[in-house]
Symmetry: C2
Subunit: 347 residues, 2 copies
């Protein structure tokens, strides 16, 4: 597998609440007892981690995971993995990093990120429970033969103290355009942080929320069991979904023509511009998605719009063009990509 | 003829320099010797003017002119004549006003405007000489049997002193988007006023230039003969056309992609918005027309764009909808009209 798939299952635009919740992710941090944490490990230890995982894979029937070693993966291909939310930007920089990945990208394991293993499942829509089930299954399969660092009192040992305990991070990517238009985002997001959850931008910690897409995740894993963590984020997500639905109702009632105008203009510019920054594209795709969700725009699927959210990023554009691109070239090819994909509606 | 045609020959988008000069107009002011100027005339005198013209029409083979009396023409129909540049707004308010009009709107005579007769010809493109020829022919035909006020020293007598002499006003409607984008309009327009010509907005004196369309006309008719007046405006117009062509060349050389982006976005918004003011529509139609003229946009004719320049105005919208419209309704129907007409391109 020399090249990474451009599409992932989480882009499908299906699943519960998928008009608002784009995807659900479960991630488990696990470390090998016998080796130092990646940050303190030498080259040899890091390679040993990969070897241990490979050995474990051969002994188990893990669901068709393929191993991708970053040492032999071009930087642009690693960046594609970042843009698809499969690895972190830091992980992509690590020459001793690796990724286990299944065919549709729903199951994966980051190797030698902050922890030796970060086992994850990403599904479309609000499917935390199902993602949790699949992650546990993969965890069981993969670590059966491995000696995992675990303390009777603390639970799973991890590099960062915030992950100690269950090692579980649960998160959702959620699209909140109506709350944004009504100027009601701030109180809603503030209430999330009050119940121990974190709100982040599209690409995790320290990144901007572009196109009104937010990542909500649990902060602390110690002192709570898995069910409590999942219940909390599921409950809060459901509440935010309700807030966003109410906001959409208000927008529709206050004037369908205005909304059709907003989404129509977004479509018109996306389908006809020749130069476009990713920030503008995210903003307009957000408007357009709102129109699709409200049934005001026909002939465009949530799946296509989810895919475009990722395809407009630099590494994906460069892969599609088969060459490195300067910033102004990316703005040109991004516009071309959007025109080609969005005009199909009218054919 | 109870209803006025929506289209006029000047919208054809043909003729010399028609990518920059939208239309050319010649207008001759003539008054009857026996009756006071319209502003000083009583009801009876005004009606007499119309009767004299009707009599003259019957005796001559004037080119199929039909008489439209404003007294029996709904206000919205008079406003349509204003929006098509066939009568002045003031003229449309006059219950004793009337208009002679041929089938394609190229020849017309305002009756009881400021002067008893204002004989005019409007043609597409830069065709002042041909318009002058047709106006003279109509003048000869129409006034053969009429006693026209003429002074051996002053020439034709008119209500306003600026028209005394030849009674000739020559004007062109000219589209200058590239000069506007380069910020070079001001010096060009200033140079026009220095040679005794006037620059006005789209709907004549005191109106704004919307969509980068300007009306250029001679100021004074006294002391110059017809040929001098026509030569002057023809020469100046040709110079401005050159300036605009140079400006377009500069825009194209400085980046075709940017221009395609500008005109593509204009098209996208025009063809997909659901609410649009006439000011925004004029601005975007100007951008789009530039793209059509430069061959950057395909499948749209200058004729359609000229027609839309007029159809987006209030009276035309109300006629098309068959009812009175509030301002916000006009913004809605204007957007609908533009969508319907501009999307045809893609069929």
């Amino acid at each position: 597998m020399s090249f990474v798939n451009l599409f992932s299952r989480w882009m499908d635009g299906q699943g519960p609440e998928s008009d608002i919740v784009i995807s659900s992710r479960i991630r488990l941090a696990r470390n090998l007892n016998s080796l130092p944490f990646p940050r303190r490990a030498d080259l040899n230890s890091l390679q040993q981690v990969i070897q241990e995982v490979e050995k474990s894979l051969q002994k188990n029937n893990s669901p068709q995971l393929k191993l991708i070693k970053f040492a032999s993966l071009p930087l642009v291909e690693r960046q594609i993995l970042v843009e698809k939310h499969l690895i972190s930007p830091q992980h992509g920089q690590n020459e001793q990093g690796a990724l286990l990945l299944n065919e549709d990208g729903s199951l994966s394991v980051m190797i030698n990120e902050e922890d030796h293993l970060r086992i994850q499942c990403i599904l479309p829509g609000l499917q935390l429970t199902e993602a949790w089930r699949q992650t546990q299954e993969l965890d069981d399969d993969l670590t059966r033969e491995l000696d995992i660092a675990y303390d009777e009192d603390l639970g799973y040992l991890t590099c960062c103290p915030t992950n100690v305990g269950t090692g579980l991070r649960a998160s959702v990517m959620i699209h909140l355009p109506a709350l944004a238009y009504l100027g009601r985002l701030e109180p809603v997001l503030r209430s999330i942080t009050k119940v121990g959850l974190a709100v982040r931008g599209t690409y995790g910690e320290g990144t901007e929320a572009r196109g009104n897409i937010f990542q909500i995740s649990n902060q602390v894993t110690l002192g709570r069991n898995e069910e409590e963590i999942l219940d909390n984020i599921q409950r809060v997500t459901t509440q935010i979904v309700e807030h966003e639905k109410n906001a959409r109702d208000i927008l529709v009632k206050s004037g369908k023509v205005k909304l059709k105008d907003l989404t129509g203009r977004a479509y018109g510019v996306l389908a006809n511009a020749y130069v476009m920054t990713s920030t503008e594209a995210m903003k307009l795709l957000s408007d357009l998605r709102l129109g699709v969700d409200l049934g005001l725009v026909e002939g465009l699927s949530p799946k296509l719009l989810n895919q475009l959210l990722v395809l407009i990023y630099p590494a994906h554009l460069q892969r599609l063009q088969g060459k490195d691109l300067e910033e102004h070239e990316r703005d040109f090819y991004r516009a071309a990509l959007l025109r080609e994909n969005l005009r199909k509606r009218e054919e």
